[in-house]
């Protein structure tokens, strides 16, 4: 851009323009150096403000309505069972759950809406195991402290050769001098409540395939890596693993190992792939094994359908509607302000030195 010749680069009255140009220290003209680059100069005039707000509301409100409807389509039953499945004081409960007694518990849930299962549609019945108030914090839940999140060995999970890479896994790294596969606290605390469902005394099969992300199965967990020395220590944290199944097929583990972001979280347990009728009474027989009593955690079972936005998620729709509505409100407000208290654009009387001329 500096090559732009300027109209008068020779300088007025010079005899030999080329010589003058050569000796001249006159800066070359360019839009950049003269700070005159073409630019758009947006001014937030009321018109712009109002139309921007309107635009946002026009876009957001329909999205909000759509996602809210999608979320409302989802049927969700949440049943907290940790408090009802076991009685007594907290210490009683802890004692019991750590003991070896029978922890079977039966819950009955009533399905209220007809939601037929169609194999190729997106409306699956799914059973969600939710151990609420778990893995991360806010007070009295399951905080993933960094100690916990870091306590795994990705290399070990993936490669058979690297089974001894357990340095990050303490204290669940070795047992009797042999490396634990999968090592670390996350795996060690694998959730071990189990559920079985029945309608009218007829068992429902729960599909536990493809509950984890494919990329996890294919790339993060080795097909030739088998559990070893797992849960052999003095303390048993959670579930045991079948040592003859490679890690890439241990989907419960894979799901569990993808640690959640918040202390209250849900994990996919499995899918119920059959019709449920309205007012079906579902009997859930569950093994209440997992100890959340010691840290006052809660466990819930969630049965839910899905829609295109996934599970029940009113928040998304509400957020869209709120922002859209708020913007609409602001647009109206600005219009009113504009009508009630107009300010002419570029009114020099607003300049500070015109507002108080006596000022020094």
């Amino acid at each position: 851009m500096s090559s732009n010749p300027t109209p008068s680069s020779g300088g007025p009255g010079s005899v030999d323009p080329s010589a003058a140009r050569r000796n001249s220290k006159r800066p070359k003209y360019s839009k950049f150096t003269q700070q005159e680059l073409p630019a758009c100069k947006p001014i937030l005039t009321p018109g712009w403000v109002i139309s921007a707000f309107l635009l946002v509301s026009v876009v957001f409100i329909p999205i909000g309505v759509a996602s809210l409807f999608a979320s409302r389509d989802v049927v969700e039953i949440v049943d907290r069972y940790d408090d009802v499945c076991m009685n007594g004081t907290k210490s009683d409960r802890i004692k019991y759950i750590q003991g070896s007694g029978d922890k079977t518990c039966t819950r009955t849930l009533t399905w209220t809406v007809v939601m037929p299962y169609k194999p190729h549609s997106h409306h699956h019945f799914i059973g969600l195991c939710v151990s609420s108030t778990f893995q991360h914090f806010p007070f009295l839940s399951f905080p993933f402290v960094s100690l916990y999140v870091k306590s795994r060995s990705d290399a070990q999970l993936r490669y058979k050769k690297k089974e001894s890479e357990v340095s990050a896994c303490k204290p669940e790294d070795m047992v009797d001098g042999k490396p634990i596969v999968p090592c670390g606290l996350i795996a060690w605390s694998l959730f071990n409540d189990t559920y079985s469902f029945a309608i009218r005394n007829q068992n429902i099969t729960v599909n536990k395939k493809d509950i984890s992300w494919e990329s996890d199965r294919d790339h993060k967990f080795g097909k030739d890596v088998y559990p070893k020395n797992f849960q052999k220590g003095s303390l048993i944290g959670g579930a045991h693993l079948n040592e003859s199944v490679p890690l890439s097929q241990q989907e419960d583990l894979i799901v569990w190992m993808r640690t959640a972001a918040l202390p209250t979280f849900r994990k996919l347990y499995g899918r119920i792939e059959q019709d449920l009728q309205a007012n079906d009474v579902i009997t859930v027989t569950l093994q209440n094994n997992y100890n959340t009593y010691s840290f006052n955690g809660k466990k819930m079972l969630v049965l839910s359908t899905t829609s295109w936005i996934g599970g029940k998620n009113d928040f998304l729709g509400i957020a869209y509607l709120t922002v859209g509505g708020f913007c609409f409100f602001l647009a109206v407000l600005f219009t009113l302000i504009y009508l009630v208290k107009p300010r002419r654009l570029g009114d020099p009387s607003y300049l500070s030195w015109n507002r108080n001329p006596g000022g020094r």
Binding site: I63, T259, A261, G346
Partner: protein, 1238 residues
């Protein structure tokens, strides 16, 4: 490094070795430098011996042995900061002297320890990038210096080897060598000038490399050495030079040459300094005296102390606050951690022995401490590491691209563009509240024209000065057009018209003899060098000062044409004499020159006429000349003094001329003393002054000259604009009060609407004591007087200020009063008064006082000050102020060398301050606040996560995200903002100078502004964190699959990058294609990065967290819904705020934007390009006059010189006003009294 080296050489000169043996006594006695050193010319063996002797091993009192050598390096110089080996350690040391870098070094070390939640990379990577950038810059600059040194050290010079000249590189030159320098060559070292090809042993040198002065200077060798021109002859030269130790004084040299057992005094006249070049001489022969770093020019090369801008210092405070924020967040986190950690969380495996003491519930204090450190490394991003580097880069580009290239600041006549010599202070220019300006050369052109004169009590010259004209116009008096007689001569330096003197007409005047002496004095008493043809039309005078040139030119036009100078004679072609048309070439033998200096304030020559008559001609300041006049002739003295006052009042510079006839006997006896003084080694200057006093007495007054010092182009308009911009202008000048006040009037600094306070030492009380002459008494009385005047002024000022629409105030103070007023006991009062004045004029001030006044305001008012000046006397002032501006003009380069910015004209100050300074300030403010905002927002999302994660220091984002956030994804747009943001264009910011006030009030970097950004930062981080996590915990696909921590954090990071980059667009005033490229480019960079980064898997397990994550995210509707929702929701607040702010509390610049929104921005420039200067001086003056409030109806306090005004005014006030030197004061004080009665 130059500083380091000069320190080194100082060390060597400070110590040791001399011909006088010294015993070292224990105690606190420091070894004194020997006063002289001896150099054997043309005898390297002897020099080596001396050098060896001087390398005395020297034991200091503390027992440390120092070995000292002189010029061990020969003549090679090195100006590099580093060498190959010291580069890394020294360069790194320099870098870590910055607190921010040191902080990040510590963080990086911390993050290498196991307590860190993040990999060392997170902190090491940005630090490394920042360091590499800085080091590469350093290395590049040093490399250029090195190349330069290399070229210089290897340039060739002819040295005497045996009996012929041989070319050797400069670096091999040794002290004592005999060298030959050819025409236009540079002197390789400080040389003793022995001989030249010119007759009379003179040579001409140009010193522009040292001081920028382009006029030639004459140097003259000692007569004894004139013959050593040929190599054969030079080989015979054996001499010993005793000279002072190397020092940095360019204009002094004392030494002796001992040759053939004779001791000859050496003066600066025989020294050719390294860096100067030879002109108009075929070649010269010289002996090397000082080499390399001991040469005077190298001793002068010192690092200018770097200035930091006020904004940057405030930035430090902001960083401290960020540290506090960081500490608070860490404290909350670690207390929480100490409370939280508990064995009940069985899944943490805390049952048995806990390996990691950071999580050991049995020692919560250790948990607290360790978590603290962990969190510090995690939250370290709150301190923006790249801020300093970015700001430096931005400012560097601003100065080299914008300031240096501004066509508005290019001065075509002198072919000088503006030059930013430092890039540290750009934004400081946007907040300048006080401008201290020199008068001569800055406000005025330093283009001297002989304008009027007074000879033998008769005033000649019909011209009317611009100042008189300006005042007359303002007072509504119509002055006659400048009628010039048809044969008036107008050339550079001469603008005089009076038929009584021109073309020999002076012979008919009352005292033609006096006229003859007058012209002869002008033609003889000077130090001007003629150049070129000796015809009146073609001759070029090379003069040290433009005044002298004007005077000699005047003599030429009066028929006393000075055309040739030899070291001992001056030839004048006199075309006066008895018969018309007869021309005599007269040769005056110059016997002595008593030079001009600032203490003597006069210059004399003793010359012998061809007929043997001995005359001393003297010219100088009226005060010093009057002191030395002989008895009698009171009338002449009185009328001449009156003329002096008139000239002074018209803004002219005056000089008195006098002469004295000398008797040969008396002269001879005096000349002996003079020669003695001249050859003394110590205190030569002082002794010469003393001897001069002996002969410069009983002078006969001839008359006086008046030279016009023209106002610079556009000065009044510029001052008008600056004062509208809220800038207060102080004129600090060495001139007389009358001249200063008149110049102030002429430039619009003072006008009749202003209330003037005058504090002058020219009052009766002080005069009385001064006549008695007791210095202590004078001091006491003066101080009292100053105090009383100050107190009165302050009281009055407060009264005026308490009224709403009082007049503006102006203060005039003279140097003598200032000396007392700057005393600590009175300084407060002075400051109090002067800060309430919109303009202040200090006259008769010394350079030191200029600096004192500047630093008084700088420290007292705590406002940004700017000094502008052009001469060596302004250097101290320029260095004292926050910002120093030098005028790259006619008087030399010292001011420019000391300055931070150099411009060619005073009027360019408008562009420099109102355009560049203002934009720079706004941009840097935005950059700083934006940096602050983006880092805080980022860190806060991390902090919200910590509250969810058991306060454990679990990182929310992947290491690489964190490492690249500052460097890759958000850095470029903010640089564009710093370069291109422009609220109003250049012409508008000059058209509405009041916009500058926003900078003075620091509107854009108040704590309130920072608080606002903080608020929005908190809001946005909450939106980003909670929206994403809250929505991310439900199943996200129709298959019911769930997100984990890393999916959600990647989503949050994506939203954050978009939000932060869009926020930048929101705060831009104009959006160029570069904005678009950088903002959308940064967002694209993030996506490219995450596609690449999560697309493959390495064996590093850390990265596996994010494997495939972006693809998983993008397969869900959640991703797209969030992508739209979160940035919009986060920015609604900012948008709303900006809309409301603009609507209800618009900034001035926003109104201006709206007013001129539809005007095309382009082509404004085209006019500038076509027309070099926007206004002719006349136009500028007309414009300035038009801007003035009408004051025709009002009586003026000041009439410049016309007696009619004087008496008119006096009659009004009822005072008889005789014309006295202190008239101005009296007139002003009468205004003061007259006011309340109205």
């Amino acid at each position: 490094m130059a500083g380091w080296n000069s320190h080194g050489s100082r060390l060597s000169s400070n110590s040791s070795f001399s011909s006088t043996p010294r015993t070292v006594t224990l105690g606190r006695v420091q070894p004194q430098p020997p006063s002289t050193r001896t150099i054997h010319c043309n005898d390297s063996d002897a020099n080596a011996l001396t050098r060896f002797a001087e390398v005395s091993n020297f034991v200091q009192p503390n027992g440390i042995l120092i070995r000292l050598t002189w010029s061990s390096q020969g003549n090679s110089v090195s100006t590099t900061k580093y060498n190959f080996f010291t580069f890394l350690p020294k360069g790194l040391f320099e870098q870590f002297r910055r607190v921010a870098n040191l902080y990040f070094l510590m963080i990086s070390i911390l993050s290498c320890t196991p307590i860190s939640p993040v990999s060392p990379l997170t902190n090491v990577a940005p630090l490394t990038i920042v360091l590499i950038v800085s080091l590469v810059k350093e290395a590049f600059e040093d490399w250029k210096r090195f190349q330069n040194d290399l070229a210089i050290n290897n340039s060739l010079v002819d040295v005497l080897q045996g009996q012929r000249w041989e070319s050797i590189p400069w670096k091999k030159l040794q002290v004592g060598d005999i060298v030959r320098v050819k025409q236009n060559g540079l002197f390789p070292a400080d040389l003793l000038f022995l001989a030249s090809t010119n007759p009379d042993g003179v040579c001409y040198i140009e010193t522009s490399n040292l001081d920028g002065e382009t006029n030639l200077k004459i140097r003259k060798a000692l007569e004894k050495t004139w013959d050593y021109v040929t190599p054969e002859k030079a080989a015979e030269f054996k001499g010993e030079v005793q000279c002072e130790q190397p020092n940095n004084s360019l204009y002094t040299f004392t030494g002796n040459l001992i040759i053939q057992k004779q001791t000859l005094p050496l003066t600066p006249n025989q020294i050719l300094l390294r860096g100067c070049s030879l002109r108009n001489t075929e070649y010269i022969v010289g002996a090397v005296v000082y080499t390399g770093h001991e040469s005077k020019v190298m001793m002068n090369a010192m690092n200018v102390p770097s200035k930091r801008s006020t904004l940057e210092r405030k930035l430090d405070k902001l960083i401290l606050i960020l540290f506090a924020v960081l500490f608070t967040m860490c404290l909350i986190g670690s207390i929480g951690s100490g409370v939280f950690i508990n064995r009940k969380y069985f899944y943490l495996g805390l049952e048995g022995k806990v390996n990691d003491s950071q999580f050991d519930p049995s020692n919560r204090f250790v948990v607290f401490i360790l978590t603290m450190f962990t969190l510090i490394t995690l939250f370290s991003t709150v301190i923006p590491i790249s801020l300093y580097v970015s700001i430096e880069g931005i400012k560097f580009l601003q100065s080299i691209k914008f300031i240096n290239n501004d066509l508005n600041m290019y001065h075509a006549e002198t072919n000088t563009p503006a030059l930013a010599r430092t890039s540290n202070l750009n934004e400081e220019l946007g907040q300048v509240e006080y401008v201290f300006t020199d008068k001569t050369g800055t406000l005025t052109r330093n283009l001297m024209e002989f304008f009027k004169c007074s000879i033998g009590g008769v005033s000649y010259g019909t011209g009317i000065t611009e100042i008189e004209r300006g005042v007359a116009e303002r007072t509504g008096v119509k002055l006659p057009e400048d009628r010039r007689s048809a044969n008036a001569i107008r050339e550079k330096g001469f603008n005089f018209d009076d038929v009584r003197l021109m073309n020999g007409a002076w012979k008919n005047e009352p005292n033609p003899d006096m006229c003859k002496e007058f012209f002869r004095c002008l033609a003889v008493c000077h130090t001007v060098l003629p150049e070129g043809d000796d015809s009146p039309e073609k001759i070029i005078y090379q003069a040290a000062s433009p005044d002298e040139e004007a005077l000699v030119t005047a003599a030429k036009n009066f028929g006393f044409f000075f055309y040739r100078r030899t070291p001992t004679t001056i030839y004048v072609r006199e075309s006066h004499v008895e018969k018309m048309g007869k021309i005599d070439d007269v040769c005056y033998e110059i016997l002595n020159v008593l030079e001009f200096n600032s203490t003597r304030k006069r210059q004399s020559v003793v010359c012998r006429f061809p007929d043997g008559r001995l005359v001393l001609y003297c010219k100088g300041a009226d005060t010093v000349i009057y002191e030395r006049l002989g008895e009698g002739n009171g009338d002449l003295k009185k009328t001449t003094r009156e003329h002096l006052e008139l000239f002074g009042a018209a803004g002219l510079r005056t000089l008195c001329l006098a002469y004295k006839n000398l008797s040969p006997d008396m002269y001879e006896s005096w000349n002996e003393k003079f020669i003695q003084a001249k050859s003394s080694l110590r205190d030569r200057e002082k002794k010469l002054d003393e001897v001069a006093e002996l002969i410069e007495k009983d002078l006969i007054l001839i008359g006086c000259t008046a030279i016009e010092d023209k106002l610079q182009e556009g000065v009044p308009a510029c001052i008008q604009i600056l004062s509208k911009a809220g800038i207060k202008i102080w004129v600090l000048t060495g001139d007389k009060m009358e001249t200063a006040i008149n110049i102030a009037y002429a430039c619009n600094l003072i006008n009749n609407d202003m209330k003037q306070f005058i504090i002058s030492s020219e009052i009766d009380d002080i005069r009385e004591v001064e006549e008695k002459g007791d210095p202590l008494e004078i001091a006491r009385v003066t101080k009292e007087a100053v105090k009383t005047q100050l107190r009165n002024c302050i009281e009055e000022a407060q009264q005026i200020l308490s009224t709403v629409t009082g007049p503006k105030l102006a203060l005039v103070i003279d140097g003598k009063c200032l000396m007392y007023a700057l005393d600590p006991s009175l300084r407060g009062m002075l400051l109090n008064l002067s800060l309430n004045c919109s303009s202040v004029v200090c006259c008769r001030v010394s350079p030191l006082q200029k600096a004192q006044v500047t630093s008084m305001v700088k420290k007292g008012a705590k406002k940004i000050t700017l000094s502008i000046g052009d001469g060596a006397n302004d250097v101290s002032m320029i260095q004292a102020a926050h910002v120093g501006v030098g005028i790259s003009g006619l008087e030399g380069m010292q001011a420019v060398m000391a300055s931070d910015f150099a411009i060619a004209q005073f009027r360019f100050l408008t562009d420099l301050l109102l355009v560049h300074g203002r934009l720079s300030y706004i941009r840097i403010c935005k950059v700083v606040t934006y940096f602050f905002y983006k880092n805080l927002t980022f860190t806060l999302t991390q902090f919200w996560f910590i509250l969810q994660a058991g306060f454990s220091g679990q990182r929310y984002y992947d290491d690489w995200f964190q490492a690249c956030y500052n460097v890759l994804f958000t850095s470029l747009p903010v640089v564009m903002l710093g370069l291109f943001d422009k609220d109003v264009n250049a012409s508008l910011s000059k058209r509405y100078p009041q916009l500058y006030v926003e900078g003075l009030r620091n509107v854009f970097f108040k704590w309130r502004v920072v608080a606002g950004w903080t608020l929005f930062s908190v809001y946005q981080s909450l939106i980003v964190f909670f929206f994403v996590t809250r929505c991310g915990t439900s199943p996200q696909t129709s298959a019911g699959k769930m997100f984990g921590l890393w999916d959600i954090s990647t989503m949050a990071f994506t939203c954050l990058v978009i939000t932060v980059n869009l926020r930048l667009l929101l705060c831009c005033n104009n959006i160029t294609k570069w904005h678009h490229i950088s903002v959308w480019g940064s967002i694209m960079a993030w996506f490219l990065f995450i596609f690449g980064y999560s697309g493959f898997m390495t064996k590093s397990d850390r990265q596996e967290n994010v494997y495939f994550i972006i693809f998983i995210l993008m397969s869900t509707p959640f991703f797209y819904l969030m992508l739209v929702l979160v940035p919009v929701a986060a920015l609604v607040g900012d948008f709303l705020y900006q809309g409301l702010q603009r609507w209800f509390f618009p900034y001035d610049y926003q109104i201006i934007q709206e007013m001129h929104h539809h005007e095309p921005d382009v082509n404004v420039r085209a006019q500038y390009v076509e027309v070099e200067t926007r206004m002719t001086p006349e136009e500028a003056r007309t414009f300035a006059l038009a801007q003035l409030p009408s004051q025709r109806s009002k009586h003026t306090g000041f009439a410049f010189d016309s007696p009619a005004y004087e008496s008119f005014f006096a009659a009004q006030a009822g005072v008889h006003a005789p014309q006295k030197p202190w008239d101005v004061v009296r007139r002003a004080s009468m205004v003061k009294r007259a006011k309340p009665t109205k």
